[in-house]
């Protein structure tokens, strides 16, 4: 009986660890929710991806957010807006919205980042990055919903 309880607990913890990292807006279909990352798309080809990237967490959200923004600006991305993001657990993250040209097309790009502290059981700690990209007009139509969905990101 005791072994059963322990097995159930481990199963719950495993299920929690494997749960989708965010709840995308309704129009998105999830293509992949584990493995190399969470991916979802819409019928009009808006793309959403969540990844966990192993990096030292020492810098904190301010450091990593600025490092990301500065690099994208250097690549030629045009900053549109920035703001704070609160994940499902209330942890503070940061989002940046850009406009960019990709293969001659105008594209909107939103990236949000959280610092994920190491977890005793499953995680070594690092960064959780949410990216949303689409052609400019599609992006404009969906970016508010995606920004709202950032509240569902599990840190």
């Amino acid at each position: 009986m005791r072994a059963l309880r322990q097995g159930g607990l481990w199963l719950c913890l495993f299920a929690a660890a494997c749960a989708a990292p965010m709840q995308p807006p309704p129009d998105f279909v999830v293509l992949r929710d584990r493995g190399e990352g969470f991916r979802a798309v819409t019928a009009d080809d808006a793309r959403l991806r969540v990844r966990d990237l192993a990096e030292p967490t020492a810098g904190g959200i301010a450091f990593w957010s600025e490092a990301l923004r500065a690099d994208l600006v250097q690549r030629g991305y045009e900053p549109v807006a920035s703001g704070e993001a609160r994940g499902a657990g209330g942890q503070l993250g940061q989002w940046h919205e850009f406009a960019a040209n990709v293969q001659g097309e105008r594209v909107g790009y939103l990236v949000a980042v959280w610092v994920v502290e190491p977890s005793v059981l499953f995680r070594s700690g690092g960064l959780r990055v949410v990216e949303f990209a689409a052609k400019q007009e599609v992006f404009q139509a969906r970016v508010d919903a995606v920004r709202a969905a950032l509240r569902t990101v599990r840190e």
Binding site: R47, L53, R75, V107, Y109, E131
Partner: protein, 271 residues
Amino acid sequence: MRRLLGWFWCVSWLATGCQMGVAEAAPFGQDAAVAGLVAAVPEGPSANPVAGAFYDDGVDGDARGRTENQFDAPADQAAGFDEFSARKLPNRERMLVQRGDLAVEVARPEAAARAFLQQVSAFGGYLQSQNGPRVVVRLPVQHFDAALAAVRDLGRVLRESRSANDVTEEFVDLGIRLDTARKARERLLEVLAKAEKVEDILKVEAELRRLTEEIERMEGRRKFLADQVALATLAVEFVSVTAPPPPPKRRQRSRFGWIQRVGAEAMMEGF
């Protein structure tokens, strides 16, 4: 004796008749003389100039540039200098309004403009207007060629044009008409001094006013022309040397691996 007096009267009439118009022939005293004078004074450019001094109008000698000697001739020498003879003046004596327009390619437009303005100042000229790298200056006409050469020395000439507008005829014509108008005004003043009837006085005064305005207008125009002739206008545009296109910027790769893996390109191409 009678024949001699007759000849003298004829010569006098011929000498003054054109200016006096019908006044000399009027047989009925002062009223007729007033009417005649009013009819004889010049009215605008269509008036028929006869003779007179050119330069007692306040235009100083310097303002006339290279034509100074010709037009400072005494009044009796100037008499008979009509438009036909103005057309026969040699070029060096003509009154020319000179203008130049240049565009010069230089490395540093602001510095070149400053150097040019200093040169213009040394020539006795001044800045008329400036709009960014384009400057318009006025300078004494005798330094016009030197100023053009100075501009050419500042850089590569992209565009150059110059023009000379001949205003000799207009200037001479104005001088003749001005002289005629002044004489007419003097006669009107004499008539006014002798006039007794109020109606006559009012008529003469009205005509004096009109004539005075006309004289002032002509004087102003002559001064303007003299200024235009004495000072040449030079417009110069300093164009920056076209910089070669900068070498393509080598983007420094981020030292953080994860940052290199995010971006719209990866999202749109390798999703």
